[in-house]
Amino acid sequence: MKHSSILLLLLSLLSFSLPGCNKHNILRQEREKLDAEREAVQAQIAELDRTIQTMPDAFNLVALQRRLEEVEKKTASVEAEASAKMKKWEDIEARFLPLKKQAEAFREKNNL
């Protein structure tokens, strides 16, 4: 009677303890799953970071924008200058050529 009572008590305690152990294990397993998931996500993040680093950022774009503005500004300046200069010397040449032809004719006529 005495031994059976003790055994009964121990068994009832064990039956209370087991769910606790089980919960502990379940939580540990779920945490391990989460850890594995997190590692996978972090690997993806690292891969994305590497990809992102090779791509141009906003600073590159700003620098390029400045370069474009400079080139366009210079082009506009050269365009104005070049076209004005070309027009000027084409006009001068157009006025000069008849005079030059007259002078050449004058020289040829006089056999010089």
Partner: protein, 311 residues
């Protein structure tokens, strides 16, 4: 005898219950806290991954803009090279015209001089001047810039170029319309500078209107109050932000507690964290109230100073 035997059994029962309670409350509670923490970190990692994906999309757009801009630069540079070639052609044309002009400026007088020298003694026969006068058996004696000396049947005469027949004027390149003169005029026209009346720079605007009209002391006080106002506003903003952060934290822990309860695990640690978060939130709310009260006082003082200034 049987009563004596029950005592150790009860002691053992208490010890085992204690061990169980410790195990359950400590170990499982800790495991639950670790699990919730791992869950939170994993959620943050997912959020971080989502942000990275967004960043990647944004960078892809930037890369597209980058390439478009590079193409624009290439087009502009090509255009620039074409224009530089045009400029080089213009320079070439300039050198060509200037070189020819220089040659003719130098050569034309000597050519004309040779023609004039060779003309001495040339027989012109009978000529009629522009004035209508006729000269018989005319022979050239000497040719000069503005006249020709001629020997004719009636003697010797110097005929000014404007009275000579047009063919003689052209033959000896005389007068104001001579080629030599035209080359000189051409050179003079090139030497003239284009009229470019540069606009005179506008004078700088007058200095800013002075003076708030406050006394020096009021001005110092006004500046001090403004500094304090800005300081308090930033403190209020920071405290509100902190309060919101702690509220978020409390809300997150509350959901973790609910989750843990549904699992049937203890939530001792989580409840402690929840209470801490709530306490921090309340402390920040109290700080916001204190700062706002101070700010109201400062605003009143500023109003008084402004009213004094307007008077």
């Amino acid at each position: 005898m049987e009563n004596k035997a029950w005592a150790p059994i009860l002691v053992l029962l208490f010890i085992m219950s204690g061990v169980f309670a410790f195990y359950y409350l400590e170990k499982v509670d800790k495991a639950n806290a670790d699990f919730q923490n791992a869950k939170l970190i994993t959620e943050q990692a997912h959020e971080s991954l989502r942000v990275r994906h967004e960043m990647l999309e944004s960078r892809k757009k930037l890369a597209a803009d980058h390439n478009a801009m590079l193409q624009k630069i290439q087009v502009a540079e090509t255009r620039q090279k074409t224009l530089e070639q045009t400029q080089a052609d213009a320079d070439k044309k300039q050198r060509s015209v200037e070189g020819d002009l220089k040659y003719w400026i130098g050569a034309m007088p000597s050519i004309r001089q040779k023609i004039w020298q060779a003309a001495s003694g040339a027989k012109l026969g009978d000529i009629t001047l522009q004035s209508g006068k006729s000269l018989k058996n005319a022979v050239i004696r000497k040719v000069e810039e503005k006249s020709i000396s001629i020997i004719h049947s009636e003697g010797i005469g110097t005929i000014p170029f404007d009275d000579l027949p047009k063919d003689l004027i052209a033959r000896f390149d005389l007068g104001d319309n001579s080629l030599v003169r035209q080359f000189e005029q051409f050179q003079e026209s090139l030497a003239e500078k284009p009229k470019n009346a540069a606009p005179v720079a506008q004078a700088a605007p007058a200095t800013a209107p002075s003076a708030s009209g406050m006394s020096a002391m009021d001005e110092v006080r006004f500046k001090d109050l403004k500094f304090r106002q800005a300081d308090l506003q930033s403190k209020i903003s920071a405290s509100r932000q902190n309060k919101n952060n702690w509220d978020d934290q409390a809300s997150r822990i509350s959901s973790q507690i609910s989750d843990s309860k549904s699992r049937g695990v203890p939530t001792t640690r989580l409840r402690e964290d929840y209470q801490k978060a709530q306490a921090q939130s309340q402390a920040n709310a109290a700080a916001v109230l204190t700062f706002e009260a101070e700010l109201r006082k400062i605003l009143v003082e500023l109003d008084v100073l402004s009213a004094r200034q307007s008077r």
